[in-house]
Assembly symmetry: C2
Homo-oligomer: 150 residues x 2
């Protein structure tokens, strides 16, 4: 039976439909690293403002970020800042997977430029597969299985 909406049935495709455009993941990396304002994101990424604006609107419509107005100092023009929703916070896992893959497979001579740490303990963490009993499973021991068509 065809999928009722015109969304792709594959969740990888749906995710890439929202996140797979050029700049999108780098904009999110900027927000994770504390650039919340349009001007900060633009300066950090060196991206054209119309493109940044378009990508931010897509991310807002997709429920990944929300836009807040701020006014500082009082009486000045209102400006926008961008903050992650819970769905946006979950994307940290995707960025971390890209980071880890780059450090493992195309390392820079002077070592990684950033590390992943547990906030509460400072301990290093990596991204991996975990089974329902909390045990890590090797990447080579995982495969994708198609769901039976209902």
């Amino acid at each position: 039976m065809p999928h009722p909406s015109n969304e792709p049935s594959c969740s990888i495709e749906r995710s890439l439909g929202l996140l797979g455009e050029r700049w999108t993941l780098l904009i999110l990396r900027g927000i994770y690293s504390g650039c919340y304002r349009f001007s900060e994101l633009q300066a950090t990424l060196d991206i054209a403002s119309n493109l940044l604006s378009t990508r931010l609107k897509t991310l807002e419509a997709g429920g990944v970020i929300r836009k807040l107005d701020y006014q500082m100092p009082a009486g000045s023009r209102r400006r926008a800042s961008y903050h992650l929703t819970p769905a946006g916070e979950e994307l940290r896992l995707i960025l971390a997977a890209f980071q880890q893959w780059g450090d493992d497979n195309c390392p820079r001579p002077s070592g990684p430029s950033a590390f992943r740490r547990q906030r509460s303990t400072g301990q290093a963490v990596h991204v991996g597969f975990i089974d329902d009993e909390g045990r890590e499973v090797a990447v080579s021991d995982v495969h994708f299985v198609a769901a039976p068509e209902s």
Copy 2:
């Protein structure tokens, strides 16, 4: 000190430089799901052959896939098939992170179209952060810390 090569120092950017173009991750999804031949990938993805060819060359140059010739039946024209290198196998984690995020945050009404399973046990697995003692760490408890400049 500036980075010695003209590669970005951030590993997320380096990974996206190789993998972030439109179609690239969907081509890899095709290879993971058993489409090894050019014609199979083209039919599954409905992608223009010059674009597929360009993306496959980039992935081969980046060490993610290798191209093998096959000839079947014997005496017929030689054709190419594409296979994952160990670095390409590791990318399964990135695709799985996109899949999981899509199923959690933009689910389709009839449920996921595919599941992640451990080959050896058939058990479901998810993608997450793991500390050095093998314990899962919540996504909200992880942050990225810049390395000290050397």
